[in-house]
Symmetry: C2
């Protein structure tokens, strides 16, 4: 282990948080800007994080009963205009294909910004009777929304996401499924895998998805005190069913419109992961997510060190640890350590001649920096167990950070003050209505979500005694 | 089990193979046509097949050392024109975005038809020295190529695929990696998971990928005797390295252009699966691929049947079988059986009162139609074992079909005759050159691949004693 402090490679968070974020993207080799403004290239280490997010989310989506399918990227412009609120929400964001196969097209095509319209068309074809309901679909896809102020992972012209689309016989069934997705898929994944604590609630009416009658959201606090919307689940009422004629024959042989939902999470979660857990040394990845949970570094030359390192890697793999060997003997040790720290690998194991002489290795936690010597024989079991402890500690630390940066407030002025550095918790009635909203907007603050006093999700914003979380946001 | 033969729901293959194919797509609920001509909607059962293909391929790609990444969908038109052969090959197939964010764009954007150009740009940025080589990348993505004569899964305007892109220090290293992918990823997957026998070889010069110096291909026979190209792996020489300035500093401190490869397989493989294994009752899915390997059907009403069926499903799951329960008591038994036959689920298990009285179940193989009674206690272990037997038998049957529809030929006339119903095997010199090619083209026949006499891949088409397979093709 190098005695001297390694050179600073990132702008400190306290000095310039946006620059710190950019530095992490570059130094951890997560992503690059794409050639077209607002697009991004996701590099292998960043894509590895996204693949693990996909795998964990996909299992939960399937357990919630939804099946994956795939709908086309290119949507006739006429589809988008069928639901009036939807088109108003999306017109400024569309990318339009006017030429194909060397000719000008008769009807322009829109690159999907989301797929309610095209999926609505096929739901109308596939659903005949109540026996076909619920119809529970999901797709993993790319979407394009023209971004005026892009930022990699957080707001990009093209992003990767999953979008769920379901149809139900009743409003109640649709509402229950939208809530099930928010709780059992999104919140369960974000809290237990990403180790990011959430506030779940509904969005104020003016912040709903275009065409929704209710939008449920997961909101998380980043380490600059701003909020990030991590995922949303929408009740679409019968708006799309009416626009696309999605009808079913009920038990009494009457034609009824279905009730639909849609719900999405995206590569934005990678941005959330970086900003919720990162520190001045780089990313910190929670073990449950990490595609590389531990890295084994051979310190110094010599066959004994190399052999021991290789054996340990094999043994860690056998203990279910996702492990990588760093055998870059030509690269200085300090540089190798910095590389893995900035990438946020949860545990670093150093195997050196001094440790080996004692039949030990040095185990270093990325989240706390804590070092310990562990006997070589017991190392794999100890490290496998350590993963659970780190996972729990990271969630605790993030929860503690969020709660200590949240202020109970009772007036608009207090909300604005508190939101300068964190979240303001306030009775919903204080920030409801056009006048209050105008004050918040002017200060760059918004209502992130509305909850019941016990933290559960209200059915609408007119319930009594609701609480709102307000913050600046990404 | 119904004694009477169930109603025919598909056009027989012998009567009209293309209509049979369409019927399978519809009845097995694999895919629909999309709203834009040439696009497709992949329905959950079809997407389930694709997900399994992705999982099996992705593991092999990673074991071959490549890492996944993601590059943007929208490519500046100027990129595409940098490599002259590449642009000539792709211009008639491009979809062009001219408007974004409500404005006409200064430079039109191309929806990626493939990503050599954009990935080349980033390789140039990321590669500095020989230490950065080889750079082994893969991405799972959608691409768009305007199709004049579309057919679902086989030729679609948008399709899903993986595209690998690698950079190497030498021509030999690049050639070796292109061959490694063809053998260890593509052929291994297609033969051992899809149970589809292949001929691997090189393409004739006039059928290479646009910009390639050598194209390796996997060719399979469909049940109408036509060939389907299942995957290709290209040596791109230094063409893209020169166009995009992909340079590295070698061990002697000299700047060198890298040697690149690209390789791809797509949702076209789903079409190949259907046409290589399907019969007049529908799809037949090999067990190693199937996302539903066995379906358990409760025959008749009654709690005992239902309980036994549920217990069997749990037990099969515990034996590692991917199993589904069909408990649609409102649907006639014949219809339920037909549904699973047309979907090609490898094994159907019927649990009825008669069987239960003997503590047995009826196990039916989809590939052969063979039925047997099996003791309930031993059923799961027997069915798990049966999967391997079916997998082997399906590969044997497909190989036997291919070989019995392949004719050894020595003249152009014989080639054309043989290709009317299957493959013609012929000395390469007989079909090499412009004159021979003109004859073949006129007859709708092409050289599918060129091999050495022992079935291995030649380094180029000028080696002596090469053999060509010729056929009509998709």
């Amino acid at each position: 282990m190098p005695a001297a402090k390694r050179a600073r490679i990132l702008t400190p968070q306290a000095e310039d948080f946006p620059r710190w974020y950019q530095d992490v993207l570059n130094k951890a080799e997560l992503a690059d800007n794409g050639p077209v403004r607002g697009t991004m290239v996701i590099r292998p280490y960043g894509y590895g994080l996204w693949e693990r997010m996909q795998a964990e989310m996909d299992g939960r989506i399937k357990r919630a009963g939804a099946e994956n399918a795939y709908f086309p990227l290119l949507i006739p412009q006429s589809y988008i205009t069928k639901e009036s609120e939807h088109i108003e929400g999306f017109i400024p964001e569309l990318a339009v294909v006017t030429h194909g196969g060397g000719k000008e097209l008769e009807e322009a095509l829109v690159v999907r910004p989301t797929s309610e319209t095209v999926i609505g068309q096929y739901m109308a074809k596939w659903i005949q009777s109540y026996r076909d309901l619920p119809l529970l679909l999901n797709q993993w896809a790319n979407v394009v929304r023209w971004e005026v102020r892009p930022r990699v992972f957080l707001r990009t012209t093209e992003f990767l996401w999953q979008e769920g689309h379901t149809a139900h016989a009743t409003r109640e069934a649709a509402a229950a499924y939208a809530a099930k997705i928010l709780h059992e898929v999104y919140a369960d994944f974000m809290v237990n895998v990403l180790a990011i604590p959430l506030h779940v609630g509904i969005k104020p009416p003016n912040d709903r998805f275009a065409g929704a009658i209710n939008t449920l959201a997961c909101e998380a606090m980043m380490r600059d005190g701003k909020a990030l919307q991590m995922g949303t689940s929408h009740e679409l009422g019968q708006n799309f069913a009416e626009a696309f004629g999605i009808l079913y024959l009920d038990g009494d042989n009457n034609q009824q419109h279905v009730w639909t939902t849609s719900w999405g999470t995206s590569t934005r979660m990678v941005g959330g992961l970086i900003m919720a857990h990162g520190d001045d040394d780089g990313l910190r990845v929670p073990p449950a997510l990490a595609h590389i949970q531990a890295v084994v570094i051979g310190v110094g030359d010599g066959g004994a060190v190399e052999d021991a390192a290789r054996r340990l890697v094999a043994d860690l793999g056998a203990h279910g640890v996702r492990v990588r060997l760093d055998d870059r003997s030509g690269v200085p040790l300090g540089r190798r350590i910095t590389d893995w720290e900035v990438k946020g690998v949860p545990v670093r194991v150093e195997v050196g001649p001094r440790e080996l002489a004692d039949s030990e290795v040095t185990v270093v936690r990325r989240d706390t920096g804590e070092k310990q010597r562990v006997s070589l024989a017991a190392a794999s079991a100890a490290i496998a167990k350590l993963m659970d402890r780190i996972q729990g500690d990271m969630l605790d630390a993030a929860t503690e950070f969020r709660d200590s940066n949240t202020t109970d407030t009772t007036t608009l002025d207090e909300v604005v003050d508190a939101a300068a550095t964190g979240f303001a918790k306030v009775p919903w009635r204080v920030v409801a209505g056009d006048d209050a909203e105008a004050v918040l907007v002017e200060q760059g603050v918004s209502v992130r979500c509305i909850q019941r006093a016990n933290g559960t999700i209200p059915s609408n914003e007119d319930e009594p005694d609701l609480v709102a979380y307000c913050a600046r946001s990404y």
